[in-house]
């Protein structure tokens, strides 16, 4: 979580990582996931929130979430 809080994230989905100077873009769901992670929500809570917010079932939401978490870890944005 501490890595996530060090990121500069705009409402447009632009992510700046000050420790390396790298920047990324993310879509609406990615932005939502990051914000939920920052709030300390669990994976199940995030999946529930996504299914509430978007027209998507829990299996698809879970798959998207774990893919996104892999991406965040791979880019060293998540502990």
């Amino acid at each position: 979580m501490s890595k996530l809080t060090s990121l500069a994230i705009s409402d447009n989905g632009f992510i700046f990582k000050p420790s390396t100077g790298e920047s990324f873009t993310t879509n609406e769901i990615g932005l939502l996931i990051i914000n939920f992670l920052k709030e300390g929500k669990t994976a199940n809570e995030i999946i529930h929130e996504i299914t509430e917010e978007f027209d998507v079932d829990a299996i698809s939401a879970g798959r998207d979430l774990y893919e996104y978490l892999d991406f965040l870890k791979r880019e060293k944005m998540l502990d």
Partner: protein, 347 residues
């Protein structure tokens, strides 16, 4: 009461595709609001800084440092007689030796500098990096200084392809086979002399720090940057400031141990494992200094104040995510100006 006007001479006005730091140094000084008169010292008659409107108050051509110290000092004495210089900020590696060697003489004339000592300057040379690393406990890639291209066939282990072949003062090329190595050896030795440095390539991201040491072990200023776009000459076309605590910690440590005096640039490779390998120390202000100014640390101003004997309070904070993007811009000049530089060596 108005602040006394100080006259500052600056070299490195070659704002070309391999830019010297002179123009951004002057921009920093002017941004500081100091009451200054800026004198440009140029080596070539087409250095853009000579002709940039509002940049320098006057420019003088200088003899190349390779001409010898006598001509160099004579020219400086002539300029000083007219301009009454208070400070000189030299910005080329190749001229630093003379400025450091004669800094006491310059000071007697009333010209202040803020440069590393001769020992500091000599010991961080590229061909001396392994010893330097050992002495100050810094990680560096394997490297060796060679004076003959035949030595490329028999490089000591663990040096292997790919490696960088580097000129004594400037330029580096990545080499993946022997014929490339020999080609670049000949090219660089003809241009910059011997030795040539062979340095193991390390996989990772290049990160850089501009820093200023007060000569007593304190880091007065330090800003970390990553190049975002690199030209075919290996120069940054764009860069961004970083919040890399470990990198700044290493910088503070090097300055503390070496008691570095003056500005410097540390070039490092950060590996995926998070290790930092020092690949070069440039003993001067780098050309991207204006990024540091934009991020909140006006290093040219601090250099001037330290040179004049003022105490400068160390600055730690700067803005992360500040970017610079270089651009080219065609200045329209007049043949009459060019004529003055050619005929009189002054403009």
């Amino acid at each position: 009461m108005e602040q006394k006007k100080i006259t500052i001479a600056v070299t490195g006005l070659n704002n070309i595709d391999n830019p010297g730091p002179g123009v951004p140094v002057i921009r920093g000084i002017k941004d500081s609001g100091m009451n200054v008169r800026v004198i440009g010292l140029a080596y070539e008659n087409l250095e853009p800084g000579i002709y940039m409107p509002g940049l320098v108050d006057k420019t003088y051509l200088m003899p190349f440092p390779s001409t010898g110290s006598e001509a160099f000092l004579e020219r400086l004495a002539y300029i000083h007689e007219i301009e009454e210089l208070d400070i000189i900020i030299p910005n080329f590696d190749s001229e630093l030796y003379l400025f450091i060697k004669y800094s006491d003489q310059l000071l007697k004339m009333g010209i202040h500098t803020f440069l590393p000592t001769m020992e500091q300057f000599e010991e961080r040379h590229k061909d001396n990096l392994p010893e330097y690393a050992k002495k100050y406990n810094i990680k560096v890639p394997e490297s060796i200084a060679i004076t003959n291209s035949n030595e490329l066939s028999n490089l000591p282990k663990p040096l292997s392809y790919p490696y960088y072949i580097k000129g004594k003062f400037y330029e580096a090329f990545k080499v993946v086979n022997k014929s490339q190595g020999v080609y670049y050896f000949n090219k660089l030795s003809a241009k910059w002399g011997l030795p040539i440095i062979v340095q193991q390539a390390i996989h990772g991201t290049e990160v850089n720090v501009i820093a200023l040491g007060d000569g007593e072990g304190n880091t007065v200023s330090a800003v970390a940057m990553r190049k975002q776009y690199i030209t075919d000459k290996g120069k940054a076309w764009g860069g961004i400031t970083l919040n890399d605590e470990r990198l700044l910690e290493i910088t503070h440590d090097i300055i503390k141990k070496t008691k570095w005096r003056g500005a410097m640039e540390l070039e490092m490779i950060k590996t995926d494992a998070g290790d930092y390998h020092l690949i070069e120390i440039n003993p001067r202000i780098p050309a991207w200094v204006y990024l540091a100014v934009g991020a909140g640390q006006n290093i040219p101003e601090m250099v001037c104040r330290l040179a004049m004997g003022e105490k400068v309070t160390p600055v730690r904070e700067y803005e992360y995510g500040k970017m610079f993007i270089r651009y080219s811009w065609d200045l329209i000049g007049d043949i009459a100006d060019f004529e003055k530089i050619i005929i009189f060596g002054e403009l």
